[in-house]
Amino acid sequence: MLKKMENNTGNFYIDVASIQKEKHANEICGDVFLTKKVSAEDRTIIVLSDGLGSGIKANILASVTASMAVNFTSMNAPLAHTAEIILSTLPVDRERKVGYSSFTIIDIEAGGTIHFVEYGNPEILYFRENETLELKKTPVTIKNRFRLKQPLFYSNCTGRRNDRIVVCSDGISQSGIGSRAYPFGWGIKNVNAYIRDEISRHPGISSFDLCRKLLANAIANDTFKAKDDITAGVVYLREARRLMVCSGPPYDENKDTMLARDLDRFAGTKIICGGTTANIIAREMHREICTNLSHTSFQLPPVSSMDNIDLITEGILTLGKAHRLLEEGFKPDLVSKDPAVMLCNHFLLHDEIVFVVGTKVNEAHQDPSLPVELEIRRNVIKKIARELEDNYLKTININYI
């Protein structure tokens, strides 16, 4: 199972992904990975919990632990207190006299400060510029009626753009145990070295892809039958990918120049949806538009190109289809030449999307005798924006001109 969450904190974008695989022959994974965005404070909380044992019982233990950890952390409860409550809530295992699941909490604040709490899981790996950063860990003491199998550690640091944090359950670090290659398991040191190598070879690797690779390796170590529940979670503090979409002529013609200049200077990807809008920008920037005749088979007018603009599509029909695609659950398709698919690809590959919507109404589009009903641009864009925000977790801004 893959999960993905993104959040924008000041000068970097938080790209979180996780991947899980249950122990061979089990139906459910005994690890739980939770993320929570505290929008009001612009905080991101990430928790990995590994329930004792495997199967449904482990999953329940881990779910309870993870949800308590997320909720207490988001309420800013003191750490020792959070740990005590978690430990006293969970049942104790009779034989082993230990009763808990292990947990790791990562709390990323708006300013970039990151708090870590580690209890029992393989240690957090923090990567900065190809190096593994040593986190200075402080043991946390809690009331001694709790028998701790391992110490509880707290650490913190200030995140920087391009840092990566990797957290995994022991299904990763102990994968391959008993094998000839890794008699004692893959080991967190090897995991660390592996990730460093991956990052140096693919500096822009997404959280998604790194998770996938970790899982694939762990499963291969276990000769394709996972010996334990496996979870890998990756947090990547990367530069936000920005997109500006201009659609529609400004209400006031005097704003044409401003529109063209804003788009031209935008630091990110630039798209125009609408022929008239493209004409305005071409005129203002003294550039030429070239319409591509070779892809005319998608029941949409073909795309065009212009210097310094990444994509030009027709307006309302293409936006309408893009909205339908997003509603149906869109997956990027980088080979398609369908203008609406190309547009949706851009939506999904960016984090922050600004729509600049011209509000001048094209009277000809409102003619009731047209063979198809043309929606009002503003409405379609609003629907697309809502879809992207709610279901694709994008940060959206709409400016009307």
């Binding site: 319409t291 005749l293 007018p301 000809a364």
Partner: protein, 82 residues
């Protein structure tokens, strides 16, 4: 060389312009080296003072409103048999 510019703006496209893109397959070979087919964003005839019936196609400098492949071919014939 004559340029045929098919408007691919929204209005022209839905009013039959989409079908005109087929023209290449319908033209006789004699035009092969005489014409070039292009598409364009809205040509500006769907609104305002110069309003014309869509779909609009330009053959050289001449506008063909309410265009169909047939109309364009007839126009070409006139052009090249003069």
């Amino acid at each position: 060389m004559t340029e045929i510019t098919i408007c691919s703006g929204t209005l022209c496209y839905i009013m039959g312009g989409a079908d005109i893109f087929e023209i290449e397959t319908k033209l006789s070979e004699m035009y092969n080296d005489k014409i070039r087919i292009k598409a364009s964003t809205c040509l500006g005839f769907c609104e305002g003072e110069n309003k014309q019936n869509p779909p609009c196609v330009m053959v050289g400098n001449e506008l063909i409103p309410d265009a169909t492949i047939e109309k364009i071919i007839n126009h070409l014939k006139r052009l090249y048999t003069r």
